[in-house]
């Protein structure tokens, strides 16, 4: 097989050349600079920086809070998607379009707004403070911010899948005596699961790297409420370029793994769709 299949359309060389050049200049060369900077620091230095207790504490918060947020998103994202697809109620269209808000809203804005709402004198903060729950300036605040950021990814992945669930099957199952839980487990969940997994991974990937919305609500105490991206910024401010590059390299590797799993998940769910004859 040759490099490309023949076509009578013009512009292949020009458009492919321009886009690969531009991609290299803006994205690939700079990312290569990060990898090379990490490579210059030697294995021992690298291990020392990335296993530093403060760095490890930041991974625990970044990954732990992101996992929790993505899980919350799967639960509430499924409920919201189900409500939007299956039920008719006033304002449904409006709410459906507002789901994309966290995606369009600048992260600094969601950060200060969430902090204002969940601070001890905020609308919600003042009602849960007497219960002994502090959200702003604790790890819970980090989870709240990451949940808001990830929500559209889960809802938008799951919505089309819920629309695919065949109601005839649900009805048939009910006539044959299946309970609600059985219908959910045996009919709805199998159809929706690949989309849910994709949404989970997308939300998780976005949450791990998130910076703007978190730093306002987190309190940013070293070892306690400091996320990894913030630690990179702190290292840069101290002109510790190598340390920043090493942590950046760890996060970049994680991003690659995520991107790969998203692609695999999507391929898997497409195969399932084909196998199911849809």
């Amino acid at each position: 097989m040759s490099f490309r299949q023949p076509s009578i359309l013009p512009g292949f060389g020009l458009t492919l050349g321009f886009s690969t050049f531009f991609l290299s200049a803006i994205v690939l060369v700079p990312l290569a600079a990060l990898v090379m900077k990490t490579a210059t620091m030697g294995w021992d230095d690298f291990v020392r920086v990335v296993t530093d207790p403060r760095a490890v504490a930041s991974y625990r918060l970044s990954f732990g809070a992101s996992l929790l947020a993505a899980t919350l998103n799967c639960v509430f994202g499924f409920i919201i998607a189900w409500t939007l697809v299956r039920y008719e109620f006033p304002g449904r269209k409006l709410i459906d379009s507002l789901i994309d808000m966290p995606f369009a809203l600048p992260t600094a804005v969601s950060g200060i707004a969430l902090t204002a709402v969940f601070a001890e004198n905020g609308w919600i903060g003042q009602h849960i403070a007497p219960l002994g729950i502090k959200v702003a300036y604790t790890w819970i605040g980090v989870v709240v911010a990451l949940t808001l950021i990830g929500l559209p990814f889960v809802v938008r992945s799951v919505q089309p899948a819920i629309a695919e669930v065949q109601r005839d099957l649900e009805d048939a199952a009910e006539t044959l005596g299946a309970g609600r839980f059985t219908i959910f487990r045996r009919i709805i969940l199998p159809t929706v699961f690949p989309a849910l997994a994709t949404g989970f991974t997308l939300a998780f990937a976005r949450a791990v790297g998130e910076y703007g919305s978190v730093i306002f609500i987190a309190g940013n105490l070293p070892m306690r409420t400091e996320i990894t991206p913030l630690l990179i910024v702190i290292k840069l401010e101290q002109f510790d370029y190598k340390g920043a590059a090493a942590l950046g390299f760890i996060m970049l590797t994680m991003s690659f793994v995520m991107l790969l799993s998203i692609n695999l998940l999507q391929a898997w769910s497409r195969r399932r769709m084909v196998a199911a004859g849809r």
Binding site: F22, L23, S97, A205, V208, L259
Partner: protein, 286 residues
């Protein structure tokens, strides 16, 4: 949603007897309540807070905050950066979509993955890579210093970091759309003697224009709102290298809440406008 049940079929099924049991209505109300409650706490309350805090000292103070020199400079810088980044990424997006959607070549899916890369990368890393290239201790740092060119802690760095972050948006919107539309009409135009540009402007562009509009406004919203990447390369020099989101942070840290939320309210309106255009585009497509 090709292949899914049609609206009529759903309505027909919904009207079947036995649908409206006590439990199913209960489930229905619980689902709607949980959805609305969750969104109210996490989304509607913060959105309302932005405007209520911005207007807490009255309209006069609200408009007063936009007379501040540094705020105006931040708005100008944000508009300038978007005016450079959005057209550049639009041209890239169209070129990449043409190459990927119209031709079959080896390594195509790998190329698509690479284009998507900036979305998976943390914004802090998008800024970091440019500091490592052009910063004082970066690969080209010394050379740039000798020639008296500043990129980091200056406008060019902000433009580059924003370009990195918003790189995929137009291409991502156009590639699936153009793949779905196929090549037949373009091939017919070329066979009948039209040139490449003429084919693009008269055949392809009219078909993809709504997708293009959406990609461009999404790219614009992200460009104007980018915080993490720009924060790393900007140096936070008031009135010179602070974009609107960075200015929000500065005002907020100075406890100037009316000012911070006033600038934030502009950015929120931009997001609302983006979503309105998105809804219009979706209606046009149908």
């Amino acid at each position: 949603m090709a292949g899914g049940p049609s609206k009529e079929m759903l309505a027909e099924i919904a009207s079947r007897p036995g649908r409206d049991t006590l439990i199913s209505s209960a489930v229905r109300y619980v689902f709607i309540l949980v959805s609305l409650g969750f969104l109210a706490a996490l989304l509607f309350a913060p959105l309302a807070t932005v405007f209520i805090t911005a207007l807490s000292k009255g309209w006069q103070m609200y408009f007063e905050s936009f007379k501040d020199e540094d705020t105006l400079a931040a708005i100008r810088l944000t508009l300038t950066v978007a005016a450079i980044v959005v057209p550049t990424n639009t041209v890239f997006g169209i070129a990449a979509a043409w190459a990927i959607a119209k031709f079959e070549f080896r390594g195509k899916s790998f190329l698509i993955t690479l284009i998507d890369l900036p979305i998976a990368v943390s914004p802090v890393i998008s800024g970091l890579v440019y500091v490592l290239l052009f910063g004082a201790q970066g690969w080209f740092g010394l050379w740039l210093q000798e020639h008296d060119i500043s990129i980091i802690f200056a406008v060019p760095g902000i433009v580059l970091a924003t370009m990195f972050v918003t790189f995929p948006y137009v291409a991502r919107e156009l590639i699936p759309l153009m793949q779905q539309l196929g090549n037949d009409e373009e091939e017919a135009a070329i066979t009948l003697g039209a040139g490449g540009l003429m084919t693009f402007f008269h055949v392809t562009l009219p078909k993809i224009r709504w997708g293009l509009v959406y990609g461009v406004i999404l790219c614009n919203a992200r460009a104007m709102g980018e915080f993490g990447a720009v924060s790393v390369v900007s140096g936070h020099i008031r009135g010179l290298t602070t974009t609107m989101p960075l200015h929000v942070e500065i005002l907020y840290n100075e406890y100037n809440f009316v000012g911070a939320f006033a600038v934030a309210s502009l950015l929120t309106l931009l997001a609302v406008l983006t979503l309105i255009i998105k809804s219009l585009v979706e209606m046009k497509r149908k």
